[in-house]
Symmetry: C2
Subunit: 417 residues, 2 copies
């Protein structure tokens, strides 16, 4: 049976019916609905002859043995956020299943082909995203924190995992799954507006942004809004306001896809009759180039020092979280660009703002690439998330072409393993 991209669209709709409601997708990891989705995927692939396995971190693997043990991996995640979209994560595994079927139909492939459905990419129930992929990649180093996590009802993460056969203390044993991996491919909706604005269906992803996430505290002096002349005020909001505007200049001057966001300012005392004494400001900066990201952070810090002097404020920085940029494999980027150009006539190279399981796999040293398909209005994590069906079909075809090219590359020993 040749590749049938329309079947992928039909199956995604079937999955939506089975695991969604009027509010959207409900495939939250470590819930019955998620288990229903995993069983559905198992059923879809039962006739293919691929061996199913749930590893120590709860990742679901389908392995089609090839002439070589060296494996080409196609990954995604069937879990969703609550009231989520029908495509985020699920597209990858359902498209991967279609590619696996096509390859199985043609006989034993030269290398092993594996589809992986990563466990709990979203972290929706316990707030810890990329669970399964970080375990398999060996980068999960927060077991002490994971043991303490609980959901909104107070159920602890270890207890919830145990209900699905996963022992947190053994999750890192899933590292064995990546030992034979020679390449990792992931298709995902863009979750942003870039491809739509360029009127392009598909793009090749260069890597995931490095992120600098900080909390900036401005300290001034509370003072009566009526009796305090303007000239003697020390207004913490003024520092935050200047920085909220300045980071946009910093992003523009940096260019090359740079983004800077101030997600909010919390003011104390925060009443209409007082000058703001303390303003806590959130800052998120992202770039694909580590040195440019460092420059953006430095520019923001320098600006904050300047504004603190101008406004006679104290200013303190506290790191919330940071991660370096993760660049995908250059050869696979080229192969992916070829595949997309074959299918769509043109291809755009773009970074990924959000993190993905592919970032964890790439960090572990396995040659990795992602391809993005256009998201309508850039919406995701909502039932409004959507992609044109013609674009979904093009995406399945492109993933199939990329898989074929990657098999050839791995079979010829072109990868660095």
């Amino acid at each position: 049976m040749p590749l049938d991209p329309s079947r992928t669209v039909a199956e995604l709709k079937e999955l939506r019916e089975l695991t969604g409601d009027e509010n959207g997708a409900q495939r939250v990891a470590w819930t019955e609905t998620w288990e229903t989705a995993r069983a559905w995927l198992r059923d879809k692939l039962s006739a293919v002859g691929a061996r199913e396995q749930i590893d120590e971190a709860g990742n679901q693997w389908f392995t089609l043995a090839g002439e070589s043990d060296r494996a080409v991996l196609i990954g995604g995640h069937i879990d969703s956020v609550p009231n989520g979209g029908w495509l985020d994560g699920a597209l990858n595994v359902v498209a991967g299943a279609e590619v696996l079927r096509r390859i199985a139909e043609e006989g034993v492939p030269p290398v092993t082909i594996r589809v992986v459905n990563w466990a709990d990419e979203e972290g929706a129930r316990f707030g810890r995203s990329l669970f399964g992929s970080s375990a398999a990649a060996g980068s999960m180093r927060d077991q002490d924190q994971l043991r303490q996590l609980a959901d909104a009802e107070g159920t602890s993460l270890p207890v919830a995992l145990a209900e699905y056969g996963v022992d947190l203390e053994r999750a890192l044993d899933s590292r064995g799954q990546l030992e034979s991996a020679a390449a990792y491919l992931e298709l995902h909706i863009e979750q942003g507006p870039v491809l739509e604005s360029l009127d392009l269906p598909l793009g090749v992803v260069l890597g995931t942004f490095g992120v600098e996430r900080h909390r900036i505290t401005w300290r001034g002096q509370a003072a009566h809004a009526g009796s305090t002349p303007m000239a003697v005020r020390r207004d913490a909001l003024a520092g935050a306001a200047k920085l909220a505007l300045e980071i946009r200049e910093i992003a523009e001057q940096t260019g090359a896809g740079a983004v800077c966001t101030s997600g909010g300012v919390a003011c104390k005392p925060g009443i209409v009759t007082s000058v703001v004494e303390t303003a806590e400001q959130l800052l998120d900066q992202r770039h694909l180039d580590a040195s440019m990201l460092a420059s953006m952070l430095q520019a923001a810090k320098q600006a904050s020092t300047r504004f603190a002097e101008e406004e006679r404020l104290g200013v303190e920085w506290e790191t919330i979280w940071s991660i370096e940029p993760i660049l995908f494999d250059e050869t696979l980027i080229d192969l992916c660009e070829e595949a997309i150009t074959d299918v769509a006539g043109t291809c755009h190279r773009l970074p990924s703002g959000p993190l993905h399981d592919a970032a964890e796999v790439s960090r572990s040293g396995i040659p990795t690439v992602m391809l993005f398909v256009q998201s309508l209005r850039g919406l995701s994590h909502t039932k409004l998330e959507d992609t044109k069906e013609e674009h979904l079909e093009l995406a399945v075809t492109a993933l199939d072409r990329l898989t074929t090219k990657t098999i050839g590359w791995v079979a010829s020993g072109g990868d660095p393993m």
Copy 2:
């Protein structure tokens, strides 16, 4: 016995001992400590021969009958906020008591002299300030709301008032107290830094600021901090940030004591990974001149429209509260300036940012003036509130001089009654 300003300082310290603790003054209206303070004041004036009366709104009056029923009033409030300062309100009544003693000593004055201790200026327990003075002035028109007010323990305002002999339904009957009033004088600490910055002990107050208090809601679009290019964002925080900075320019261009304050910005969703969708901004603008205040408001609204266009945001204005400027009596301002200059050698004219009982009295048509004494560091509503003792004594002397001048003016029929 001649005027003894040092006695006022000593009595204020005595009152602090009696009604304060390590956290500051605790003379919250409609509490036992407040009642203790009222009884203390009664005791202090018992030998003067002034008739004491508690009116229908709980205001405490001490009347020294003169040759004429026409009365010069000296007002203040002995109530404080919780953990308040020793001077805010109490200075006025204790200094007024000293002036009353000095006048009584000299025989029957040509006009009647009355000291009034207004009930619940601060509104600390029920959130409704200027209770007693607004009742006596006849401007209390919120009885329906007052009936619904309750304190933090759930005790309703009418029940609390009844414990101190006040029937809310009859509070407006206290209007009779002002029928014979020919002038109203009030001494208060500045509660701001202006006199201290000018190195002056005393100033005459021109009136209380008009206030425009508004909530401004900026509406943009939530968007992923990683996947949304800068150019397509609609960031509600950008509108709020621009206006927070612009109102300072508006105040500066307006001049003449103009103040503009943005007391806070509340951001939604307010998370580090999202562009701000909604920003609710607080704005407070004050000026002594009604037309300038209106211009400042118009300038802020025009700026907000411009920023909304620049940032592709929605913007909505909602009035929280507003009050027109209340200008004090020009003749009394002149008399007060003379009295201060006599005592301190120089006098500064300044507006009052905060409201005071004097504003209620002035609104009712009675010639009114206030004098301010320097506040150290501009602090008030805290136990750190303080004024140099030499300045307190100068203030008592100036109030005494002003009272004498006002008695002469009223006795000569110079007032417009």
